[in-house]
């Protein structure tokens, strides 16, 4: 069974932490993963940096720009991840825009993922329809799960459709916004979480976009299986460096 599916079989709120590969420094990838592993996160998302990350806010954009300047790219990332599975059993997801994956070659990309022990993918600009038509088969053949997004604007019908295709979990985007840290959820967002929760979908839900503190993390846990935290963590390591990771995780948990 895929590590992602396994993690959702356990109880408790899932914390999935996103970081951009190659940031702050080119070779921080494994060190960050080790930190996250020992801090006890349930899932890790590695961002493959892209020049034009149009779903991302300034924090992740900026980390991507630096990562690219540092020399990060797809080849380097897979090279760094060679010993990933000697180090951790936590499920690891790559989040990346479609173009770098296309240029690397989809088949080759899947192969590399499998080789290093990646469990799934979030490709924000690969629409679920095109995935379904053209790409699902190949990703599946390498045992990779593809997770898709829903937003407050997604119709009930389409949510059900996505529920049928998304594997592992559904990424519930918290608001009308690009990525970025906010302080708390408003009543509109909570109503939306509740509405989706009550749909009793097949796939479990994780909330993403805006989770930044204990407050938002706990709230996310109430309406879903957990949360994905990106910009807040990037801000933290920009500030304090990567070796204060466990403090960050603790500050959100208790």
């Amino acid at each position: 069974m895929n590590r992602i599916n396994k993690v959702f079989q356990k109880d408790g709120t899932i914390m999935s932490i996103y970081f951009t590969a190659g940031f702050p420094a080119k070779n921080d990838t494994l060190s960050i993963i080790k930190e996250l592993d020992s801090a006890g996160v349930e899932m890790i998302e590695i961002g493959l940096p892209f020049s034009d990350p149009l779903a991302d806010g300034p924090t992740i954009q900026n980390s991507s720009t630096i990562a690219l300047k540092n020399g990060m790219n797809t080849i380097v990332l897979f090279e760094q991840l060679k010993n990933l599975r000697k180090m951790t059993d936590v499920p690891v997801v790559i989040m990346g825009y479609f173009n770098p994956i296309l240029q690397f070659g989809i088949e080759k990309f899947c192969e590399s993922c499998k080789e290093v022990g990646i469990d799934g993918l979030i490709i924000p600009d690969l629409p679920v329809d095109i995935y379904n038509d053209k790409y699902q088969k190949i990703f599946k053949s390498y045992g990779l799960l593809n997770m898709f997004l829903i937003t407050p604007q997604t119709s009930e019908k389409r949510i059900k459709y996505i529920d049928g295709i998304s594997e592992g979990f559904i990424y519930m985007v918290s608001s009308y916004n690009v990525t970025g840290a906010i302080k708390s959820f408003d009543s509109f967002q909570k109503k939306y979480f509740k509405r989706i929760n009550e749909m009793n979908l097949t796939s479990p839900l994780l909330v993403g976009f805006g989770i930044s503190n204990k407050n938002t993390f706990i709230d996310a846990g109430k309406y879903s299986r957990g949360a994905i935290i990106g910009s807040a963590y990037i801000n933290w390591i920009s500030d304090k460096g990567i070796y204060k990771t466990s403090e960050f995780i603790k500050s959100l948990r208790d």
């Binding site: 034009d52 779903a55 173009n99 296309l102 937003t151």
Partner: protein, 394 residues
């Protein structure tokens, strides 16, 4: 017969589609479901055509350029989009989209702009119909096209600088998309060229097709023929080209030439000649040809003209290129500037630098004596005066 128009799924051959984050799905789906129906409705057409006539000043002339024709020994016609209100073809599209946005109940308009022509055209129609208007423009472009920035402000638009990446059109487009993601309900995003996710390329091409259809009528009147031998246009994203090619796309009697910006030279690393330098990939939600690294990072293009300084081309044009239907020629900054001056002094028409690129092919191609060559004179050079003055030390 091959069909060079868009298919039902939003593709031109292998190019196009809507490779966008789910956050944009509702907006694009709403557009895709409605744009053809609305734009073909009687009431829409009436308003659209009336504004094109009474506000934009259409039909724009098809002008027989005597001096050029004599010099290059063929019949050179200029489709005078430079005479449109606000100074370029861009307004045909913004009029169409603002009427569509109104029909869809939107209240707020965003747009990206490179040369500023699309920004001005958007700000203009927003003023006309009372929409709030925000224009994203790269910091670099804000500097080199300052008259257009001033115009947008006069028109009541807010100009927001795009400070990421190369700080040009590509980055302004990213910012606009981010804004749309954040404001999906009340906002319509008026894309300024035949780029971006479906249905934008087809929608923009349809609104611009008035250029081509007028040309057909005018050729009938002037030459007793309904088609030229060549249609020629510069290609940034490709909207002025798409507009004038539109009626001729599937008629291979009519040769199509797309002129791209070679910048300082195709192989100098300072170029925007996408067809030669680009590879298939995804930019701004569309599968097309784009300039990128081996790793799939989008590269920073270069051209002296802000309106051609884009690392992609529209999917229609990518298909024209790959299929061989269109001939692609690239023209350097130097040639384009020289042609800007030449056209000014030979015909009394100061073209936009974008537009000047198209004319430069007259030096490179041989035409037959009775060949009818129609250039899309996509815009006027008022916005480029500083650049011309500095370049030629006038």
């Amino acid at each position: 017969m091959i069909n060079y128009n868009v298919d039902k799924k939003g593709f031109y051959g292998n190019f196009g589609g809507a490779f966008v984050p789910e956050m944009l799905y509702p907006n694009l789906n709403e557009l895709a479901l409605n744009y053809v129906r609305i734009s073909k409705s009687k009431s829409f057409k009436k308003k659209f055509n009336q504004l094109l006539k009474d506000y934009v000043g259409r039909p724009t002339p098809l002008y027989f350029a005597q001096s050029l024709s004599e010099k290059f020994k063929c019949k050179v016609y200029l489709k005078r989009e430079d005479l449109c209100h606000t100074g370029a073809h861009k307004i045909n599209n913004t009029i169409g989209q603002i009427l569509l946005a109104k029909e869809l109940g939107k209240k707020r308009i965003i747009a990206e702009t490179g040369a500023g022509q699309h920004g001005v055209a958007t700000a203009t129609v927003c003023a006309l119909l009372g929409f709030k208007c925000i224009i994203y423009m790269g910091e670099v472009d804000i500097k080199r096209q300052s008259p257009n920035v001033a115009r947008m402000k006069m028109l009541g638009a807010e100009v927001r600088p795009a400070k990421s990446g190369s700080r040009t059109l590509k980055d302004a487009t990213n910012e606009a998309i981010r804004d749309w993601i954040s404001n999906p309900v009340d906002t319509h995003y008026i894309i300024g060229s035949v780029v971006g996710p479906h249905p934008f390329p087809d929608m923009v091409a349809r609104f611009q097709s008035v250029i081509g259809y007028e040309t057909v009528n005018q050729l009938n009147e002037l030459e007793n023929k309904s088609k030229p031998d060549y249609v020629i246009a510069c290609v940034g994203g490709g909207s002025n080209a798409a507009g004038i090619f539109y009626p001729f796309l599937n008629d291979e009697d009519v040769k199509i030439i797309c002129v791209e910006a070679a910048g300082k030279g195709v192989n100098t690393g300072k170029s925007a000649a996408t067809s030669i330098l680009g590879k298939e990939g995804i930019i701004h939600g569309s599968k097309t040809l784009l300039m990128q690294t081996n790793d799939g990072q989008i590269t920073e293009p270069y051209s002296i003209s802000a309106g051609l300084d884009y690392p992609g081309i529209g999917p229609m044009h990518a298909n024209l290129y790959k299929s061989g239907r269109g001939e692609f020629i690239s023209v350097t900054d130097k040639k384009a500037m020289e042609w800007g001056l030449l056209l000014s002094q030979m015909e009394g028409i100061i073209p936009a630098i974008e537009t000047a690129h198209a004319f430069a092919i007259l030096d490179q191609k041989k035409f037959k004596k009775n060949d009818i060559i129609v250039f899309n004179c996509s815009g006027r050079g008022d916005k480029d005066l500083d650049t011309f003055i500095e370049y030629f030390k006038l």
